[in-house]
């Protein structure tokens, strides 16, 4: 699980307008105009929120000339939900320690170099 992705996911979620946009997109694709409709804010303001969601990889916007529907990307949300599940996190941390332990006990041998776990 990429920590930076988690940071941008949680940062993107830390706004009620953006959460409302995500909830709407969870029911299906929508154009920017449709997304803006329920909010008492200008189209550019909504677009700004959408940009944050897009940069965080939670939303993707289609390329079709007029319609350009926005769509929800499920994976980062799922990763965030999984990260919030403590028993999974405990396991991940424990397996980190198992990995460290195994590397320590075999470093004298001609083992292949240690594989990085991301950044």
């Amino acid at each position: 699980l990429d920590h930076d992705q988690l940071s941008s996911t949680f940062a993107a979620l830390a706004d009620p307008t953006r959460r409302a946009i995500l909830s709407r997109l969870a029911t299906g694709e929508a154009s920017v105009t449709e997304l803006a409709e329920p909010f008492d804010m200008s189209l550019p303001a909504v677009t700004k929120h959408l940009k944050v969601l897009q940069r965080a990889g939670l939303v993707i916007q289609g390329r079709e000339a007029q319609w350009r529907p926005c769509r929800l990307l499920a994976k980062p949300m799922r990763d965030a939900a999984e990260w919030m599940e403590p028993y999974r996190r405990h396991w991940e941390q424990r397996l980190d320690r198992l990995e460290d332990y195994l590397h320590e006990t075999t470093t004298k041998g001609a083992r292949r170099p240690r594989k990085g776990r991301g950044k």
């Binding site: 403590p86 424990r94 198992l98 990995e99 195994l102 083992r111 594989k115």
Partner: protein
């Protein structure tokens, strides 16, 4: 807590991880008491082991009791249901926090040889959280609190976040 009294909440997840070690080395790390004590424990900076017992065979039991820095006690009690050397471990475990049973889990550990001396470890956990302890007691314990971690994820940059 009253709304949670006698509640049961179910959950499950699968974790897969590839190790550059053969199934034998991995199985040893899981079944040798000295080896397992090196990694199967609480966070080093806030948890101290008090009791550790192991008996890896069908019907055998593990027990691991420890104390967090805030004085709260965690207790893990497991019973093995299937032991296939270098292939599989299936056990159930109860988690207690401060003497209260907070969850009952079924854990299946699979050691899948991948060739070239590497192994895919597949951990499948299915659990029932009891009486509202669906955070495994973290909330009450505070030291591993979800909210702390969430705050960190939102930009605190604390070193407690696992390096991943």
């Amino acid at each position: 807590m009253s709304s949670h009294a006698r509640s049961v909440k179910h959950g499950s997840f699968v974790i897969e991880r590839l190790f550059n070690h053969d199934p034998g080395a991995l199985f040893h790390a899981w079944t040798d008491p000295k080896a397992k004590a090196r990694w199967f424990n609480g966070p080093a900076d806030k948890w101290t082991e008090e009791v550790r017992e192991m008996d890896v065979r069908v019907g055998g039991r593990d027990r691991l009791i420890g104390k967090f820095v805030d004085g709260s006690e965690s207790r893990f009690e497991a019973q093995y249901f299937d032991v296939v050397p270098e292939r599989r471990l299936v056990y159930t475990y109860d988690m207690y926090w401060q003497g209260k049973k907070i969850s009952v889990s079924l854990a299946s550990i699979e050691f899948v040889a991948q060739g070239k001396g590497s192994t895919k470890l597949v951990v499948t956990e299915q659990h029932a959280f009891l009486d509202g302890y669906e955070d495994g007691g973290s909330r009450e314990r505070g030291t591993l609190g979800l909210i702390d971690n969430l705050g960190i994820a939102l930009g605190g940059g604390d070193t407690r976040i696992p390096r991943k």
